[in-house]
């Protein structure tokens, strides 16, 4: 219970500090309007933030706070990298790219940088990874760190898993498999949802009704649950080949997610179809293909692109969750969701070997980092395209 007493005492001290801070500010600056009109909440916020920063610095120098130090290093490192990347973008390149970087907040440039890194990792995984993803070595369960005295192996920086595969290589190949499969699924979902959505918007009538009502029903079932139900059935259909189940998963998730894409593209398309230039094109006698690809698609580009980013995040998280639950991407393909599940036990050794405990977090963090990055970029794009300042 003493913990609660301490927390209450600290809060009371901060509350008092807020009042003192405002009072001191009023005295020292001879009642400047900023301090004179400062609401108590703002003063409290300043002191609270100050206390949090001081507490963080104190924690940073504690011996036991290994993970906190890593988190701080990671955060500062990423912030610095994002800043350098943005500065680079602002000074190097043509006028247009420089203009692109000029209005960019730090979060968006962080997101872009991460997406670029992941793309490079995914495309060049076989060149970057030290070993193959299915290569099995002699030493099983080597601990990370590469120190033989501590149960590691200098050949395997992050150690090996329970059947002796190099974890660093599998982590890198995970970028190729997890991100690649998620990307392919999103593209398929967009192809299905987008084309049906635009068709429904341009043709209207009974086709629109049938498609829309079907989508309504499919969307009434929560997507993860529906995916799990269909995966049960797919696993009964799939043969012994593991890629078959992965293929079924791509199709299932693409179909489930295409319902959301359908909704959006139909709504966007319906807004565009009533425009005068569509009327003009119809009167010119243009065909359906011309209408969809040359008139509607270019005008629906911005919302669809943002939706693509968000949809990719959802698909990526769904696939990772399915793999984590054991019904997604099948071994021997390396993927992050399965790695988290397999390595989760290590987290209990955090007090003895922080690096080993960080292994499942690395795989899970790799997933989180990409989705956060995509979300940051999409958030910025939406703000830019909507032109909202507030």
């Amino acid at each position: 219970m003493s913990l609660w007493v301490w927390i209450l005492l600290a809060l009371a001290a901060i509350a008092l500090g807020g009042w003192l801070f405002r009072y001191a500010g009023q005295r020292i600056t001879a009642n400047r309007p900023y301090f004179r009109d400062m609401p108590y909440g703002v003063a409290f916020g300043y002191v609270f933030a100050g206390a949090a920063v001081l507490g963080g610095i104190w924690l940073y120098f504690q011996d036991g706070a290994v993970f906190f130090r890593w988190a701080v290093h990671g955060l500062l490192g990423f912030a610095a990298a994002a800043w350098v990347f943005r500065t680079l973008g602002r000074t190097v390149g043509t006028d247009r790219t420089r203009k692109f970087f000029r209005s960019m907040p730090l979060t968006a440039s962080f997101g872009l940088l991460i997406i670029l890194i992941y793309a490079v990792l995914a495309i060049f995984a076989p060149l970057i990874a030290p070993y193959g993803q299915e290569e099995v070595f002699q030493q099983v369960n080597a601990l990370p760190g590469g120190d033989p005295a501590a149960g590691g192996n200098p050949d395997h920086l992050l150690g090996t898993d329970q059947i002796g595969r190099d974890l660093l290589s599998r982590l890198i190949y995970g970028a190729q498999n997890t991100v690649g499969i998620a990307f392919a699924t999103t593209c398929l979902a967009f192809f299905l949802g987008g084309s049906f959505g635009f068709l429904a918007a341009t043709l209207g009538g009974w086709l629109d009704q049938v498609l829309s009502r079907t989508v309504d029903v499919l969307m009434a079932i929560p997507s993860l649950i529906f995916a799990l139900l269909l995966m049960t059935i797919a696993s009964a259909w799939a043969g012994t080949q593991s890629w078959q189940l992965t293929f079924y998963m791509i199709v299932i998730i693409a179909v489930i997610d295409s319902t959301r894409v359908f909704r959006l593209s139909r709504a966007v398309g319906a807004n565009i179809v009533v425009m005068d230039y569509i009327e003009a094109a119809k009167l010119r006698g243009e065909g359906l293909r011309y209408l969809i690809f040359r008139e509607i698609l270019p005008n629906a580009y911005a919302p669809l692109l943002a939706e693509f980013g968000l949809r990719f995040c959802f698909v990526f998280l769904t696939i990772a969750s399915l793999s984590f639950l054991g019904v997604g991407i099948q071994p021997p393909l390396a993927d992050w969701g399965t790695m988290v599940r397999d390595l989760a036990q290590f987290i209990n050794f955090a007090a003895f070997s922080p690096l080993a405990a960080a292994l499942p977090l690395m795989a899970a963090g790799a997933i989180a980092l990409l989705t956060v990055a995509v979300n940051f970029v999409v958030d910025w794009m939406l703000q830019k395209s909507s032109g909202l300042k507030e």
Binding site: P39, A220, T232, L325, V340, I347, T371
Partner: protein
């Protein structure tokens, strides 16, 4: 009839219709399995006579439409069938698992787990709703300040992280490094409320992190949307403090979208618990569902699916109805 009542009844009927269609989809999906129940129960080496016997027993020789309606009638009366795993178990041992009352039915399996899941969702809602409302109002009050940006970044990060990442981080800090809370949620039926809360707190915190972000962002957006309207301007010109402008003038009118997003997030809670329950080995319905999916225990999968879908549809319906009811223009028509 009062127009609001009419709309509400319309929505209710629509919801029921959706539920009916969803049950058809689930039934069809299960019927798309290769072979049928009889073969699935008996396995590869079954004799044709045995398959035929079971088929007759389960009524599988009837046409699909008849089977669907009898299945639906069973579901409505609470008879969810017998799980394959439990049925096999009972027949192997020779006795049933419950003393003398036949094999464990799906209903008996699901009921305690459903209660556990509802408990988890309830605890999460009790923590998450006030926290997200407060944070959302504060972010709207101090918009574009460092606080607002910090909360926004935090919300975006936590909403886009996978549940298991947040769960393992919480386990690392609150269960392994500082053993404050148990990392595995052992829930028994005869547990005291205090113990139960303690065991539920970590999964509830994880879920809170997931749902708070969206509720908070929506609260903030709903309030900020209103701030440009003339009556808020008027309130400001009267010289009311910013807090009062937001709490007594903006908040009541922003209630409809906020209620909707809360109900939607509760719907997400009931379905999104699957991963969190697996991480914490929480004995809820989500874990039962995943286990049944892995061993292809069709009756359980079907029943869980139907329960999840109806909870989801009902909460969506609730969101719909509440947002209608919170609109004064609809409540008091001219």
């Amino acid at each position: 009839m009062h127009p609001v009542l009419k709309i509400v009844i319309q929505r209710l009927l629509l919801g029921l219709l959706t539920l009916l269609v969803v049950s058809i989809v689930i039934f069809l999906a299960v019927n798309a399995l290769p072979g049928d129940f009889a073969q699935a129960i008996l396995g590869q080496s079954a004799t044709p006579e045995a398959v035929a016997a079971i088929r007759r027993d389960l009524g599988l020789d009837q046409p699909a439409v008849t089977r669907y309606f009898s299945w639906l009638a069973d579901m409505l009366t609470g008879d969810l069938g017998v799980s394959f795993a439990q049925a096999n178990f009972a027949s192997f041992v020779g006795t049933s698992a419950e003393s003398g009352s036949g094999p464990v039915t799906v209903l008996q399996q699901i009921t305690p787990r459903f209660q556990n899941t509802m408990f988890l969702a309830g605890v999460t809602a009790i923590i998450a709703v006030p926290v997200s409302l407060t944070l959302g109002i504060l972010a709207a009050l101090y918009r574009n300040s460092a606080f607002d940006r910090g909360v926004n970044i935090f919300a975006l990060s936590s909403v886009s992280s996978p549940e298991f990442f947040l769960a393992y981080i919480l386990i690392l800090f609150l269960a392994v490094l500082n053993p404050v809370l148990p990392s595995l949620s052992n829930i028994f039926s005869d547990m005291g409320l205090g113990e139960r809360l303690r065991a539920t707190l970590l999964p509830a915190l994880t879920l809170t992190l997931v749902v708070t972000a969206q509720m908070m962002r929506m609260t903030r957006a709903a309030i900020i949307n209103l701030l440009a309207s003339p009556y808020i301007e008027m309130a400001r010109l009267k010289g009311i403090s910013p807090t009062r402008v937001i709490v007594t003038h903006a908040l009541p009118n922003a209630l409809a979208p906020i209620i909707t997003v809360i109900a939607l997030n509760l719907a997400y809670l009931i379905t999104g618990v699957v991963v969190v329950e697996v991480v914490f080995v929480y004995p809820g319905i989500g874990q039962l569902f995943v286990d049944s999916v892995k061993i292809r225990d069709i009756p359980v999968v079907q029943a869980c699916c139907l329960i999840f879908a109806s909870a989801y549809i009902l909460l969506n319906l609730l969101a719909d109805v509440l947002s209608i009811l919170s609109n004064p223009r609809l409540r008091h028509p001219k």
